[in-house]
Structure formats: C-alpha cells, structure tokens
C-alpha cells in the first residue's frame, strides 16, 4: 500500500544530493524528497546578497585533484570531473545562482532519484521487529501520501530563521525579507541585530549610503581569521570593522537582546529602551516612555533608528518530527541543532541520521562540518557506516607492507582534503598487523567514535593503531587572539609540538582506546593520551614532503613506536646483511629477498661513499683488519705499558 524505501533522504540540498550520489553508486534502494521543484532551494533565496563566501579557488599550482578539493569549498564528491564547481563559476566568491545550477546538474547527470514538490510535513515511528532498526520511519507529505523507510537521513539544513521576542519586536525586519537595494537605505540610521556573517553581509551592502550602521549582539564579534573557524565573520564581509575603528560613525555593541525593548515614536522612528523601564511605565503614550538616556545622557543607543533588521541566523526545524522519534535539541550551547552522536546518528532514534549543516553540533565552532567543504566528507563517513551496518561491506581500507608506513602517511597528509577540512573530526586510522609486518589504512573515520571503531567498520584493531589527525596549536585560535605576532610560526623540527598552524599530528596507541578513555581524555585534547605522539612541524606551504624536516622525523617516530628499523637500503647493503646477519631489516625482507631489491646508480653510489652512508668495497685494503685504515704519525705516540700507573 505505502511505498517502501531502504533509505529516505529529506532535502535535495548539497548534503542530501551527496548522500544520494553515494547510495546511487552503491546500488541502494533510496529516494530523496524535495519540497521545491528543483535541487538547492535554499540557494535560490540565500544568501540574500547572492555572494557565496565559500571559496572557488580554481588554481593552486597543483594537478592533484584531491589536494585541489582542499581549496574548492563548493563541489560535491563524485567520480565525474565535470561535476566540479570550477566549471560553473569563475568567481572566487561565486554567485548563489551558480550553486543552484550546479546542484541541478549534479542531480541530473548522476541520475539521482529525487521526488520534487514533495513536502514531508510529518515523520513518525512505527515499531516493527522485522525492520533494520527495529522500526520503520513513516513519512507523510503535504498531500497525505505516506512513505515507509528503514533508514531516515535528514538533510534539511537549518531552515527556520531565529526570531526575537521582546516588546516592539513586531517592528523588526528580517534578513530573509529585508530589501537588498541600497537605495532603500539612503540617509537612514540602521540598527542590525546580530554579529554573524549574514549581519555583516547586510551591513556591507548598505554602509555606503546610510548615515550609520550599528550592530548589536549578545557576544563580541568573532573574526574567522582569528578563530580559524569558517563560520565566523569572513574578511569579505567585515568592512564595518574598518569604518567602526576608523571613527566613521558605524559601530558594534554588545547586549543581551532579552533586556531590550523597541519603542516607535510619533514620527515612525524607533528608540531602544530597556524592558524594565517599559514595564514600569504606566503611561501608554509613546512620547512619554522613559528612555535610558533620561538617566544617562551618554547612552550609546540614544539615537533614533529608521530601521531595525534581524540577522540572527537559522535553527533546525523540529516541528515535523513526532515525539516518538525523540529528536530533541542539545544543550543550551547548541539549541539550534538536533542532538546526535559523533557518528551523526540521532541519540533518540536508531537509524535516523542528521546530515549537512544541521549536523554541525559535532564540530561547532571548530571544523567545517556546517559547510559543503566539511559535510561532503562526513556524509561519506555516514555512508560507509551504513554500508557496513546493513550490507556487510567493511569500511574501505588498503593493506600495505610495513615498509610503506612512512610513505602512506606522507601521501595522505599532503593530499587528503577530508583530513584538512574536517581537522580533529575525521582522522585516518592505521591498524597494525601482528608483529608490525603490515598495516591496514582506513581514511577519514569519525575521531570521536574511535572506541567503537571495530563495531562500526568491521575491521579489527588488535595489534596497535596510529591516528593521523590535523590540528592547530592549542593556544592559537580564539576571538581575542593576536594571530600575527612575531615568532608565530615554528620552523625547527624539535619545536614541532609547538606548531601553531594546521599541521599533522600522529597518535600511537597499543590498544584501541575505550569509551572511558575517550570520555576522560585530557582537556583540550581531541583524543586520549597516547603512548607516543608526533607532530610534523607546520609548513608555510602546507607541503610536508621535505626529506629532512618532515619525512625523517616521522620515520624516527614510527620506528621507535614499532621498535624496528624502517630505513631503506640498496640491494648491495641487503646482500651484505643477508650474508652477515641472521635477521634483516623490513625493507630488505619485503623487497630484496623477494627479488625486488633497489639498485644504485654510479652517481648515487658516489654520493653514498662521500657521505659515508655507503662503503666503497673496491678500494678495500688487504692488510688491515679495519674497513677504514687511517694512517697517522708512527712510533713516538705509542708507548708500552708496564708500570704506567698514575696516581691523582
């Protein structure tokens, strides 16, 4: 009677389409439900001033596609190189309509199954022991059509604007509806509520024609280049900081909006007053309402405003979810987000996952999980978890001999975009095999689920693990930080642990950390205390391939964790070791003994002899017992010991 899908995706925005693409390629039974008639409906309206602040860096000087994704913040992941955003816009900060066009092409070229004009208005739970998660999700749309799903993937984003509720809030205009024509603001005094990017975007648009713009928020302004968080105020939007600090009449203020009230005078202007002043007034006449400047004639907001605009961001729409789903918001800190685990699954309902912007609570104010260039990777991680949970397909991994350990890490830290963008959220995991002869490499696993790695991936972690993470220095990010101080960069490899800029950090554990270890890890640490830790020193070029500065210290770290010698040797050296020792270094075992030894060339051998890394056996003498006979002055320096005891 009602259609059944294994996977139901709510929303055909970037996150929903990303999940659909992954399910599609895996041949799964899925459907996407989109309220509008085309994908990416959010971007048909927002941002209001049509300029995306996700960068479209089309040139990096490198050909590596994975590396280039580090600087392409708009593309979704697919196998089709034509579906990269660089083909849809040449602008560094693209126009939002390009995103709409891109998402439409993405869905169409990949043949994604999207049901348009379908607005899911109600979601409820139906228990069924036969179902994958012990229940089905029952979805109903605006026409009363009912759908049944085994797994529900909610990718609706943050769809509900945050409102204000104080006396006079009915006079406040909203970001979603305010005019974007600067001409409508000529010669006006404007108050903007909010200190986020949408607030600054609005201010940027009008500050050239207004008398002044004041911006009011509960907290101080947070600059993204100081916090290293892409959701804070971007430089492209921060023109008002310039006019404020250079005394050009614009300004920032901090106050809790709950204490405020807005009063409209007889001329239609708005005055800021305090709520308790309004409540204490018995007179209803607007002109006689007490104002703060009546007591304090220096009150900052004593000026009358022509317009008040609310730009306070969005929050998750919980209204369509029935109580049986137990989908609720988190703590006070993240009321706007649903409560989810670090695997992006709802804490209240098994099989319900939050994808995309709404899943940002996992890494709020840290990584990029609320933006395309973050959640395209977390969606992929969720897909891998689902493949293992419901289809027995273990997390993808590559098996290597131990001699490739250094190389596999160097390769990933230099090209992996997921590690780079979702730093300290997704990490690569190396699972060592018995006796450290080989290892398995897993990419971009959710770091906070480390204790459940075996259950979630189907892989075993029995002989030790490495975790490869990217981190900023512990005291280098924050709204009040001076991130341009002298000596901010670290260049010496022995000081690598003090690196400030994003740099690779490798943790070594002999056993998989437990949930208890994860819970009680040291403050400000992304992971529990390891047996050993290694920092690859920060690099100005983000190129960690320097033989001495990056690769050599990493090899030493890995060698000491595994108690083995990971150097590479030429076939000649392996030959010598084979005939003179009972044991061989791993490189000789894995290569030379398998008839794949490395020959040197004349030039390389010469360098080796000069640097004493190699011996020149053709020049060896016959008469001395030592490989290197050093002549020195004869005779007089030698004395015969018979009674040469000296007393101090």
């Amino acid at each position: 009677s009602r259609p059944h899908r294994d996977y139901c995706v709510l929303g055909a925005g970037p996150a929903g389409l990303q999940m659909a693409a992954l399910l599609h390629r895996a041949g799964r039974d899925y459907e996407v439900f989109e309220r509008e008639s085309a994908p990416g409906s959010f971007f048909t309206r927002y941002p209001r001033h049509r300029k995306l602040i996700s960068i479209n860096k089309r040139y990096t000087g490198k050909a590596n596609a994975e590396f280039n994704l580090r600087h392409d913040w708009n593309s979704l992941l697919s196998d089709d190189p034509h579906l990269l955003f660089r083909h849809y816009s040449q602008a560094y900060f693209p126009d939002a309509s390009d995103m709409v066009r891109y998402l439409g092409d993405f869905a169409q070229r990949l043949g994604l199954r999207v049901l348009y004009n379908t607005n899911i208005t109600h979601v409820t739970l139906d228990k069924d022991p036969q179902a994958w998660n012990g229940h089905y999700f029952i979805l109903r749309d605006q026409k009363g059509q009912v759908y049944q799903c085994s797994v529900l993937l909610v990718a609706t984003g943050l769809a509900v604007p945050k409102l204000v509720d104080f006396p006079g809030s009915e006079y406040v205009e909203g970001y979603e509806s305010v005019s974007v024509d600067p001409e409508d603001f000529v010669g006006q005094n404007v108050l903007i509520l909010g200190h986020g990017n949408s607030a600054f975007e609005t201010a940027e648009n009008i500050l050239g024609v207004t008398n002044f713009v004041h911006m009011l928020s509960r907290s101080r302004v947070r600059l993204s280049w100081a916090t290293h968080y892409v959701g804070d105020v971007r430089a492209i939007n921060n023109g008002l900081l310039d006019t404020y600090q250079l005394k050009s009449l614009d300004g920032l203020l901090e106050s809790d909006l709950e204490y405020l009230a807005l009063v409209k005078d007889s001329k239609g202007k708005f005055h800021i007053t305090l709520k308790f002043l309004l409540e204490n007034s018995s007179n209803q006449s607007a002109d006689s309402i007490p104002l703060p400047q009546d007591d304090n004639d220096n009150f900052a907001m004593r000026v009358a405003y022509d317009r008040v605009i609310r730009c306070l961001g969005w929050k998750f729409d919980f209204s369509i979810f029935n109580q049986s789903l137990r989908l609720s918001s988190g703590t006070e800190f993240s009321k706007k987000y649903p409560l989810i685990k670090a695997s992006y699954e709802s804490k209240g309902s098994r099989g319900l996952f939050i994808l995309g912007t709404a899943s940002h609570s996992v890494d709020y104010r840290k990584s990029a999980g609320g933006f395309i260039h973050g959640f395209r990777y977390t969606v992929r991680a969720v897909h891998r978890l689902l493949e293992h949970r419901h289809h027995g397909i273990t997390w993808p991994s590559t098996q290597y001999p131990i001699t490739q350990l250094t190389s596999s890490i160097i390769r990933r830290v230099n090209e992996a975009s997921g590690l780079y963008q979702m730093f300290s959220v997704l990490a690569d995991i190396i699972l060592l095999k018995e006796n450290a002869t080989a290892f398995e490499y897993l990419e971009e696993f959710p770091i906070q689920m480390l204790a459940q790695l075996e259950m979630l991936t189907g892989r075993t972690a029995r002989h030790g693990i490495f975790v490869i993470n990217m981190e900023y220095g512990k005291n280098f990010s924050g709204p009040e930080k001076d991130v341009f101080y002298y000596d901010r960069s670290v260049a010496h490899i022995e000081d690598a642990w003090m690196s400030n800029f994003l740099h690779p950090v490798i943790y070594y554990y002999r056993h998989l950390p437990t949930e208890q270890d994860m819970r009680f890890r040291p403050a400000q640490w992304p992971l529990p205390r390891p047996v050993a830790i290694h920092h690859i020193v920060e690099d100005f070029l983000t190129d960690w391939t320097a033989p001495v500065g990056h690769i050599l210290p990493l090899r030493r770290f890995l060698e000491n964790c595994l108690d083995t010698d990971l150097r590479s040797f030429y076939a000649e050296s392996c030959f010598l070791f084979t005939l003179t020792r009972q044991k061989l270094p791993p490189f000789c075992q894995q290569g030379y003994l398998r008839m794949q030894g490395l020959s040197s060339t004349k030039s390389l051998r010469q360098h080796g002899v000069e640097s004493r890394l190699l011996q020149d056996y053709t020049a060896m003498e016959n008469s001395s017992r030592w490989l290197d006979d050093h002549s020195s002055a004869p005779g007089p320096l030698t004395q015969f010991l018979d009674s040469n005891r000296e007393e101090l």
């Binding site: 690598a496 642990w497 009972q582 890394l613 030592w626 004395q639 101090l648």
Partner: protein, 853 residues
Amino acid sequence: MNQSTSGSSITSGVRTQQVKKTDKSPGTRIQPQLTMSSGLRVFRAGVALVLMCNFYTSTEDSLPELSPQQYFSSLQPGKASLAYFCQDGSLSNSLFLEELKEAIRPLQDYGISVAKVTCVKEEASRYCGEEESLMKAYLFRGSILLREFPTDILFDVNAIIAHVLFALLFNEVKYITTLEDLHSIENSLKGKSNMIFSYVEAIGTPEHRAVMEAAFVYGTSYQFALTTEIALLEDVGSENIEHAHLYFFHCKVVSDVTEHCRRTLMGPPLAAVEVHKFVKTMEAPLLTEVAEDPQLVSTIHLQLGLPLVFIISQRATHEADRRTAEWVAWQLLGKAGVLLLMRDSADVNIPQHANVAFRRAEKDAPVEFQVLNDVELIISHVKNNLYFEEIQEDEGEDMEGPDLAVEDDEVAGTVYRDRKRPLPLGLLVELTEETFNTTVMASDTLVLFYATWHAVSMAFLQSYTDVAVKLKGRSTILLTRINCADWSDVCTKQNVTAFPMVKLYKEGESPVSYAGMLGSKDLLTFIQLNKISSPVNIASIQEAEKYLRGELYKDLFSFSSVSVLGLFTPAMTSAKECFQKAGKQLRGSVLTGVYSEDDAWILSNKYATTLPALLLARPKEGRIESVPLDTTPVQDMVQILANAPLEAFPEITVENLPTYLRFQRPLLILFSDGSINPQYRNIVLALVRQKQLDLFTPCWLNLKNTPVGRGVLKAYFGRLPTLPQLLLVNLHSGGQVYAFPSSQPLTEQSLVLWLKNSQAGLENPIILSAQEWSPPLPAFDFLSMMDVPTSRAPTKKVLECQKEAEVQERAGQQPGDKSTTRREPVEVLRIKHWNRSNRPKESREPFHHDKEL
C-alpha cells in the same frame, strides 16, 4: 721562568704609592693549597687584593675588617691581597659583600688574602677616594698595586675570582682577538709546548673562572690563550657557538712549522673539574701497547672516569692495526683511553674473532669483546653507549645528544645529495590524467608510477632513465612515467598502492606488473623478453631446432641464458593450456616457446623424453635437458619455469642471491678474487652429480664482480683472508659460518669430510649476529615536551639573549681590558639554525675537521 720578568714589567707600568714602612726581609715563597690534587708542584707568589667598601656589620668574622693603617702594615712582600675600601658610615654594598665573602675561601686556596678596609672621614689614603661612587677593590702584590676594579664588574663570586686570577696571570694567559694572533702563538709553540685555547662569552663568567683556575694550575706547562671574539671561534671551525669552548692544541709533536697543530675540543661543558680531567687525558699516552688481561689493565683514564677501548691485534697485522689504533685514539682523545692489545702474547682468553674490546670505568666492570666491521663503529659505540657520564646542563638542550636530523637512510641520503643533477627526463613521456588512457591504448607502453617526494622512487627513476638512454630509438615500447603525487587518481585506478611500480600495457592484454629488481639491468631484460609473447608459438620442427640452438630470437638470448620449449601433441589441450598460463605468468623473466603439432614426437624422441615435456636449452653451454610433465598443475609448472634459469654451481651476485636463498639450504660458497679455478669447479660439479651436495646450495662469488663480498669476508674474519676461501653459511637456522681450513688441499674427499664434520658440530663456527633491527636513533619525545609547563622557546631565547647582554655590559665596563663580546642579532642566529636544521648533516664526527687553517 717568566715570573721576574713579568713582575718587573708590571712594576714599570704602574705608579705605586710607597708605604711608610718598607719590609726589607727576603720574600717567602708559599705553595698554594689546591682543592684538586695535582701531579704538578707549583710555587706561586701570592697577591694581595684591596677592596674599598662601606662599613658593614656581619654576623660572621670571616671577612677581616681593618683600618688602612692596619691593612698596609699587614701586607707581606710577594703575597697577593684583595682589599675593598669603604667609607665609614656610608651606604652599604651588601650584595657585593655577600659575594666577596663567598670568594674568600677559594682565593685563600690560591694564596690570595681578602680584607675589607674601613676608611674614616678624615682618612688621607688615596684608596679611600673622595666620593661614594668611587668605592673600588684593589689587588696588591706585596705593597705593589697591580689592578683596581670597579665593584660592578665583580658582580658575583665567579666574576671576582675570574678577574683576580686574570690580573695575576695576565702574561700566562694571552688574550687574543684575531686568527693571526692565534697562528702566531701556535707557530711559536710548535715542537716546544702545547696550547690550551678557550673561548668564553665574556670576562667574569663562570667559564672564565674555570679557565683561569686551570691556568693557575697548568700555566707553567701549557700556553693558555683566551678570547671572547665569537668570530675567532668560527674561524677555528666551531659551530653551534652558544657556550664556552676549550681546545687543546697538540703543538709539541709538530716538528714542521708548515704543519698544523692537531686540535682536540673538550666535550663536556667548561667547568674546572672537567678541564682538569681533560688536561689529564691530554697528558696521558695517546696509545699504549699491552699484552696482559684487559680486565687487569689500569690507566689514568679509568681513574678519570673514562672507558677503555682495546684494539685487538696480532703479530701479522701489527703495523696496520697500530695505525688504525692511533687513528681511533685521536678520535677518542679526551673521551676514552685506547690501547693496543696483542693477542699473541696475552695469556687471557680472547674470543677468536673479536677485534675490539670495551671496558667501562666503573669498578669491576666486565670487558666486552666485540666484532665491529668499521672503525667508525668504535667511535659511535663509545659515544652512543655513553661510557662517560654526561653532565646535564642547567639550561638548554643537551648539545651532545644524537643529532636526530642526520639522515641515516642511505637511499634518502644519496637521493637528496643528488637532487640537483638533471636527468634526461625528456626521453620519458610524462603522463597526466588526460593523456594516460590515450597513450597506453595507442601503443605498447611501459609506465613508471612514482612520487617525487619518495626517495626509493627517485633512486629508481635514475635507473629507469638509464634504460631509456640505452633503448633510445631502438625500442617499440614507449617508456613513460606518471607522478602519483600529482595524479593520485590515475594511480589509484591502476591499483598502484605502493611506489615505485612499473606496469607494461600491451594492446588487448591486461597490464603486466614488473616484479623484478629495481635496476636498469633487470628492467631491460624484462622489456626485451616482452617483445614476443610468452610463450611464443613455434610453427615447425626446423623453427624449434633454431629456437633450441638460440638462433631464433637471437638478440633475446643475451638477456636470458636459458629458454624453455613446451612440447605437446594437438590432443594435449589441458597440459598445453597449463603451460601457456605458466608462461604468461612469468613473462618478462623466462623465455618460453610452445610447439604443438602432430610431429612433436620427433623432438621428444630426439631428446629422450615423453610428451608432454619441457626442453630447457642453454645455447651458450650447448646443453639441452628435458623435463617430463605428465599431469603437472599450473603452479608446479610455474615453479619449474621459474627455476629453469638456475644453475648447478652458480656465481652468486647481489642480483641473484635471493633466487637461490628460496631453497632454504645452507650456502656452500667459494670466494674468489677473479675467475674460479677450473679444478675447484670440477670438484664441486662432480660432487653435485654424485648427489652429495643435495643438502646445500653450492655457489661461488667473484669479488671482481661483487666487491661487497669483501665486506662479507671482513665481517666473518675481521680481515680479508687468503683467497680462494670456501665457506659454509647456514642462514636459515642458527647463523653458523664454517670456514674450510686453508691448510688443507681441496679435494672431493676432504670437502665431503669437512661438510660431515660441520654438520656433526665438530668444526668451530662463526655465529652470525641475531640482533633485531631496532630504531637507529630515538625520536623526539613530544609527549614529554608537552607535559613540561614551560614558556615558549622564542621567549626563552629572548631571555637568554638579555642575560648575555647584561653580562656583556658588566664585562665591558672593565677599563684597560680588551674584553668585548659581540653577540649576533637573534634573527641571524635563527637563520643560521634554520639553515643547518634543514640540511642533511654529515654522519661523520663533528670533531673531524677537514678545514685547513
């Protein structure tokens, strides 16, 4: 002695005030009492030092307080005295007096008395001064004023002692500022005396005090030179100049003025006890010959806490070993004692193949006998095992720890050094994401998958380029490369998970991965043998005969010594398919052909075998052998084909040793310097035919072709034995190496008997080391660094710089001295440090200076 001369010159240069009462009695020479015992007996006149100071009430009476009259009347001729004059009732200089009290005892040990002289207001003495700011300390010898000191340069006990001794020893310790000064002193000492040269950051530092105290003790034996010029130290060749340095210049043994004095840098931080130890080791014999139990040998080094290194020698190689030992002794001078231990005369039981022994300085420490292949290993063994205790500095890092930035990976190190040499990469088509598929489909293509940051890849790229040069214009296969650091997706799609990898793409076929040596020779063989299909189809009996004689595909036989021909009747389809699969699997390494016509029986009759069969042809040797197949499965067939190139008595090389090790049998290996004696070859081959060597892999090694064999022999015997040398090497169980006695003639009988005795355990073997391959060096312990609640390094460096500046300012205020300290700005130092830490450093010893003065 220079004593009277220097005294006279000082007198003539300094105006002195005559005291009222002149002591005309002869001076008394007093022997100083030192805290350190010394083999030298030093008589030195004491000197009096006068201080002016404020009246100071002290709970201790150790600092005598005298009036000027009392003080001057107490002066003794020839005795040094330090006096501080202070005004009665004026403000106290309590900090200085505290330091001065601490200095009393050491100065007294040097025979220098200390006193505080209180001046009353009407005192007419010139030393009392007229203003409070002019309070000073004065150094007298008898009643002669030697030096006056502002009290602000005597800022602590070390500064007091340093300045006083410096004034006293001004002629014994020459202050120099230029390299020419150093050369001048050095030349004047050659053949006569040794020199101790020191750098300190400033006059008055604790290191300066240590140097002066050493000069007080040894000033009559060695010439001392001192500098505060950092540039001079850099000219001498020092790096990492962040602390005081002390060099011993061995000038006495230099007879030729054109020859440079050898220099030994003192390793531990500059402190008085360490200087004393260091000088003692310089005085000890460089090398001592002993013929007794090393456990009972006692030298001054043990008493100084230094280990002993015994170079084990014997009569036959005595001269060469002595030269080696002397070289080692110079390298370890100041760190260990080196002795030449004669094996022949010693009664003690020395392990047969040991060539070196170590003994720690601890009481009853056992002697450790070792076999080390390289003299450098002796040096590193002493250093790495920390035979002498490191003195932990109060601040900063341990400068003597292993340098973790030294590249010890021979591939990475050599590739790095060769990085600027251009390769003829134009001969290799560089593939990209766009061009990969079209290129490999257009023609037969060989692709090297590599990464530019991967050292092994870049080493092999050189060999790959060599192949391209050899094949230029003469190959139908296109040689290409793709950088997986740029085109990661392409490499992933081609299932390339490890670098470097070579794949051959032929039209209509799956790509073939190259599985041979990463070198030009084997790769060239792979390319050539892939010119034809594997197995190649033979069309007629005549063609088959040509193939077996090496006339068909003649050019390919220079790359393969053996070819395999599979013989089948048309009805034997399953056997033929097995053979074809096996041949395909081994393409590029074995030359295979297949003949399956009705008249195949003609060949099987001729070579005395039954169909199906393999014919193994060695055209160069004119031999053809047959192998019947019957119902051999594919994998066994692969094994037969893979073993086809193997020989009964092969020459072992670096390239083929792994092939023969697969049999897991002991190697019976004959080492030869050049071609092998045919007589020996015949003996071994005869035994092979008699099946008496089935338990072994008989082979031989030509040192001309495989020079590294010398390293193998030296590892076994410590020297190169008389060649040829027959060895039995058991690598797979036990690591025993048996040497055929050189006194015996090699015959079939003696060889068989020796092998039986070896297997029965009647011969004494060399046992190969079973040591695990551990990390060569430790890693940075960032976990511990992160635990220490410390200020950040840049701040620390700034603080250090400020401290140095303060010391400089104080020292600079001393008039008359040439003490100036030049500190380079922090930026320059950081740049230097940056440059050094980003360059692979030499693995050799830092004290091994090649630089010529």
